[in-house]
């Protein structure tokens, strides 16, 4: 009964906009938090009765083609967690009631859009939901209406529009060559015939569109601007889940269920993945803006996912999905840390702040956990997914790419250590001697996310066989 995942948040927004606005305005943030938590809970008992039930009226009225497989369930979980975190810290960071209402409503809409992206089985519907998510992103980035945010949003709009056009061209050409827009039918028709130039053109256009949306390196230009200039809760949301669902998940889904792991697709994935990893990590190392550094790190981690996908095996796909999940958790965590630092010190410049860990112990500790997980230090979650990626690459004989992955993880560790040294360690500067730990609305999400990272890392052997390996299909 996955219809409800799209319908309920949307209906909730409509109800919240009913004329009794006074009540609704205060209800909206709570509704966002509750709905995202509900989604997490539903996903956690994913083998329960609910998913198989066909609700009578809704089922007959709405004939949506939605499928919730293992990969989609994992994504739904990520969406639930990150939306929950975003809603909580949004409630904590946005002071004005009207803005708070708008923000919560947008989170609710995007919940339904992202669930749609995850569940659809039609490339045009995929495009529709991608566009909804993109439009929400534009609005959210420009939420604070300052010039830099506008600049980031405008660049994102241009790139997103071009990407959409590539996607639509791909869709049209696929429609010609396979006569349908449905995943399974396209897949059937693509596997039935050899890859002719027209199909390559179609697949290539589609993939390039998704590359732009995912921020893979030669197409990543909009990403640091958009992430770093967005308001803090929005950065968490964008980096944690929106671009991951919009770009990376769509890439995985399309590569696995539509195009199949063709040799040349894998080659492109491998090459772009390696370039993305290295370029993102290298660009991150000299950044002085906290969020911009995290943005480049995000790019670099997306590279890992693409690289894993490029190995073309079911293990590689499983590793990619696992890293996607881990990345959603630890990158959200790091952006929440950045939000806490920005909230308390009023700056994102890593050269200005120093020694914050004395005054903000929870933020300091959780950021260490997040960084180490991102850099792939055992036994945190990030280590296991990177290990799986390297194993997947080695088992298909891509030794050079495996070496690149391992070496880049050293650079990752490098820039995170630089960040930690600049921001959290050392002696606190006079300017910030009086700052306090961020409020409960930020500290609680930090602790939850850090606990997930550590927990997944420690219970990895349990999780591996039960959840991760089935992802490969």
């Amino acid at each position: 009964m996955s219809h409800l995942l799209i319908l309920v948040p949307f209906c909730c927004v409509i109800i919240l906009n009913l004329p009794i606005r006074k009540v609704m305005r205060s209800l909206a943030p709570v509704a966002a938090i509750v709905l995202s938590l509900l989604q997490v809970l539903m996903v956690l008992c994913f083998d329960c009765h609910f998913w198989q039930t066909k609700f009578g009226i809704i089922g007959t009225f709405f004939k949506f083609n939605l499928v919730a497989d293992k990969l989609a369930i994992l994504m739904l979980l990520c969406i639930g967690i990150v939306s929950f975190v975003t809603a909580v810290i949004g409630r904590a960071l946005i002071k004005e009631r009207k803005e708070r209402f708008d923000f919560a409503s947008l989170i609710l809409i995007s919940l339904s859009a992202l669930n749609g992206i995850v569940l659809v089985r039609d490339i045009f519907s995929l495009y529709v939901f991608l566009e909804i998510a993109a439009v929400i992103s534009f609005i959210l980035i420009a939420f604070k209406t300052n010039i830099l945010a506008y600049e980031g949003a405008f660049k994102y709009i241009i790139f997103s529009a071009v990407a959409s056009i590539f996607l639509l061209c791909g869709t049209a050409l696929l429609l010609i060559t396979s006569g349908s827009t449905d995943f399974s039918q396209i897949n059937a028709s693509l596997t039935a015939q050899a890859f002719s130039p027209s199909i390559v053109l179609a697949v290539g256009l589609f993939l390039v569109g998704l590359f732009i949306k995912a921020g893979v390196v030669p197409f990543h230009w909009w990403l640091p601007d958009a992430y770093s200039e967005a308001p803090s809760p929005v950065s968490v949301y964008l980096a944690g889940i929106v671009t991951k669902a919009v770009g990376v998940y769509a890439l995985i889904r399309v590569a696995v269920s539509v195009f199949g792991m063709h040799k040349s697709i894998c080659a492109v994935f491998l090459l772009l993945g390696a370039i993305t990893i290295v370029a993102g990590a290298i660009a991150a190392i000299t950044q002085s803006d906290f969020k911009r550094m995290l943005s480049y790190s995000s790019i670099s981690q997306v590279g890992y996912i693409i690289l894993a996908l490029g190995s073309g095996t079911s293990l590689g796909v499983a590793a990619a999905c696992f890293h996607l999940f881990n990345h959603a958790i630890f990158k959200s965590l790091l952006f929440v840390n950045a939000a806490a630092v920005e909230q308390q010190t009023g700056t994102r410049d890593m050269d200005r702040v120093c020694g914050l860990s004395q005054r903000m112990p929870v933020t300091g500790l959780t950021s260490v956990l997040g960084s180490l997980s991102c850099a792939g230090i055992p036994p945190l979650a990030g280590f296991w997914s990177k290990l799986l990626i390297v194993i997947a690459l080695l088992s298909t004989g891509h030794f050079v790419y495996a070496a690149v992955a391992v070496l880049a993880s050293i650079i990752t560790l490098g820039y995170f250590l630089v960040m930690q040294r600049k921001v959290f360690f050392g002696k606190i500067s006079e300017e910030f001697i009086n700052i306090k730990e961020a409020g409960l609305g930020i500290v609680v999400p930090e602790i939850i996310l850090a606990a997930i990272t550590v927990g997944v890392g420690i219970f990895f052997p349990v999780i591996l066989n039960r959840f991760i390996l089935p992802l490969g299909g």
């Binding site: 830099l148 506008y150 600049e151 405008f154 071009v162 639509l168 429609l175």
Partner: protein
């Protein structure tokens, strides 16, 4: 599909590619934000044409028409938001010059 249809498609294809080049050139070269959006619009026109041609040649006219309708609605909303942002930039920069929104670097 017959050879004439393939030929016909290629004729349309040439014009679609020409539209693409015009649109992309406009986005790349212009110094005005609104013109950049107009360039995007031209690209969208090209894609609309491509989808319609695809539907016409493969016989899925009903399907492609519904797709085009959805697409037009979506692009209209995107354009509205984009115009809103352009207006915001103009309000703060007092200019529509692309060269003035280059402060995010590195």
């Amino acid at each position: 599909m017959s050879a004439s249809a393939v030929y016909l498609f290629w004729i349309f294809g040439i014009f679609i590619i020409m539209l693409f080049i015009i649109g992309l050139y406009c986005i790349l070269v212009t110094f005005n934000l609104i013109r950049a959006l107009i360039g995007v619009e031209i690209l969208i026109k090209a894609v609309t044409l491509l989808i319609i041609v695809a539907g016409y040649l493969s016989g899925h006219t009903a399907l492609t028409q519904s797709l085009v309708i959805t697409m037009i609605v979506i692009e209209a909303v995107v354009m509205t938001i984009a115009v809103g942002i352009v207006l915001g930039i103009h309000k703060q920069n007092k200019s529509l010059d692309v060269r003035k929104i280059r402060s995010l670097k590195g």
